[in-house]
């Protein structure tokens, strides 16, 4: 009896230690980010978040252009990705026969496995020239808005947004398809019995039922796109300024860290880049927290 119990205890202790390691690592990560950004935090305080100058020469650093670029490109990614993703999820969950649905979903999930540097490669060599060729069309249709004004050089927030949308679509499709499939058949049957068309059933009954799960998938996709580095830095134009037009170049937090980290001299410059990392980390915590809450409430409802 004694031997049995100590075997259990050993297993318990070892696995517990590993679980604790996660907590320790994360705490250490936050601590390192916090500690190494001490200089700019003391110097700039909260104004770091709203200053739009980024000048290594004079030592003025502000996070606003990067927060702007990150939010705009991710926002555009969602704007393009949600309709495409949810649309495809509906097709795969409701319309396609099971074998085809599984096969296609398999292929789409492979898209999630493609390394981001490859998206970057295709971004510079395929997407940017394609957008340059399409520019007259886009400008013709949307040029009246300030969002599509000004000169277009190919590398821009638009290109970054499009690349990001392609990268997040698999996440939206995969999770949304699962939650849609999990909606009880009675819901559908009820609507159809009342005379609704397939589309009306899907849009007015099934989707609302699966709503929180879909929203959870969107938040997870958002979290992924906020931190995306390589693909963005290759197509965004690397300009630390705020422009209204999507045709203009921009800069994201992850991209500027990747570009400038190796050469930052001095505690203020390096610390400011690390503080940007802290800001990004903070953004990700908030988004993940919201996603978690949403997905949890879906699980409680038993729809997943």
């Amino acid at each position: 009896m004694h031997r049995l119990r100590s075997g259990d205890d050993i297993a318990y202790v070892i696995t517990l230690t590993c679980a604790l390691t996660i907590l320790a690592l994360t705490a250490l990560l936050v601590f390192e980010l916090y500690k190494n950004s001490a200089v700019p935090r003391h110097q700039f305080g909260w104004s770091f978040l709203v200053t739009s100058t980024w000048d290594p020469v004079t030592g003025e650093f502000g996070a606003l252009p990067f927060i702007y670029g990150t939010v705009v490109t991710s926002g555009l990614a969602l704007f393009l990705g949600i309709p495409l993703g949810v649309g495809a999820a509906i097709f795969l969950a409701e319309l396609a026969p099971a074998k085809i649905s599984n096969a296609l979903t398999f292929l789409i999930e492979l898209l999630a496995a493609v390394p981001s540097v490859i998206f970057g490669l295709l971004g510079i060599f395929v997407l940017v020239p394609a957008l340059i060729a399409l520019e007259p069309v886009i400008r013709g249709v949307l040029g009246w808005t300030p969002l599509f004004s000004g000169p277009f050089y190919g590398v821009s927030m638009l290109s970054a947004g499009v690349v990001l949308s392609v990268m997040i679509i698999p996440f939206i499709i995969s999770i949304s398809r699962e939650v849609i499939r999990a909606v009880p058949t009675e819901q559908r049957e009820g609507a159809l019995a009342l005379g609704a068309t397939k589309w009306e059933t899907t849009w007015d009954v099934v989707i609302p039922f699966a709503r929180t799960g879909i929203m959870g998938s969107i938040f997870l996709a958002l979290a992924r796109s906020l931190g995306e580095t390589m693909a963005v830095t290759m197509v965004i134009g690397n300009d630390p300024a705020i422009h209204a037009s999507l045709f203009a170049p921009g800069y994201s937090i992850a991209a500027v860290i990747a570009n400038e980290f190796a050469e930052a001299t001095g505690d203020l410059y390096l610390g400011s880049l690390i503080e940007l990392g802290l800001v990004l980390f903070g953004l990700t915590i908030i988004i993940n927290g919201l996603a978690r809450v949403l997905v949890l409430s879906t699980t409680k409802k038993g729809a997943s």
């Binding site: 100058t53 300009d239 170049p249 570009n259 400038e260 050469e263 001299t265």
Partner: protein
Amino acid sequence: MTRRIFIVNAALATVLTMGVASAQEVLINAAGATFPYPMYSKWFDEYHKKTNAQINYASIGSGGGIAQVTAGTVDFGASDGPMTDEQIKAFQDKRGMAILHFPTVLGAVVPTYNIPGVAGSLNFTGEALAGIYLGKITKWNDPELTKANPGVKLPGSNIVVVHRSDGSGTTYIWTDYLSKISKEWETRVGKATSVKWPVGLGGKGNEGVSGSVQQTANSIGYVELIYAIQNKMTYGKVKNAAGDFIQASLAGVTAAAAGATMPDDFRVSITNAPGKTAYPISSFTWLLIPAKIADPAKKKAITGFLSWMLTDGQKMTAALSYAPLPNAVVTKEMKAIAKIQ
């Protein structure tokens, strides 16, 4: 049974030796300027063939070279802009010793452009370049450009300005030149490896800028001469202090260096040099070597490389469109190698 032991032992031996560096080879890590990268990669390759020294150079930009050598994560750095007094002091404070500058080659920075329909070499005045990069000259058919290029049909399209997004000695040379030409540039932007650009797109490294210019119509960028030549890009002539439009060449760069007096610490600027044939945007480029190298094998390899570079290495420069150092500078440097302890 014995077979199993043998296999286990062999596996163990393999794994263990993976963790042990080969006794013969010395690996030296360096990082910095992209400007001389084609030259350095050839030199380090040739030197490796001669000795057992592997010099692993990462072309991350002059700013990166200065930052990493100061942090001590690389054995030496490289930069096209000499370190400023503050950077030297920072190095001293952090590492407890001095940092030595060793010029390696001379190069030129050229304005390269991609204007559909314009194939030849355009003339640029310093004022034109400063105006373009300040964002004040926005169209290719601006008078400042057309008057220097009679007979060339310049389009009315907007100029797409490309600059470096990383900390760059090439930027240092370019902004050093513009600061000498334009008071407004000097006060508004200044000269440094990384500045706040009034306008333009950022490209990473000489590679990124030349790539961007190649892919973007009506763009202008500044790159090291070799990148423009190797990629068959069009680059313009620049007006020098004597008033002549000079195309960058080894002769022009050597002429620019001829007039300069080399100080003992080797930090000197030769942009906008006097001389009829001098090319105005020329510069030395330096290796940044800590004054004390603890590891004897590394010290031998690095000092050995410096002597080799100043003798055999200098003979290889012309083939890659870099100008060799003036003889007086070589002699002075050979003596300075002794300063490395």
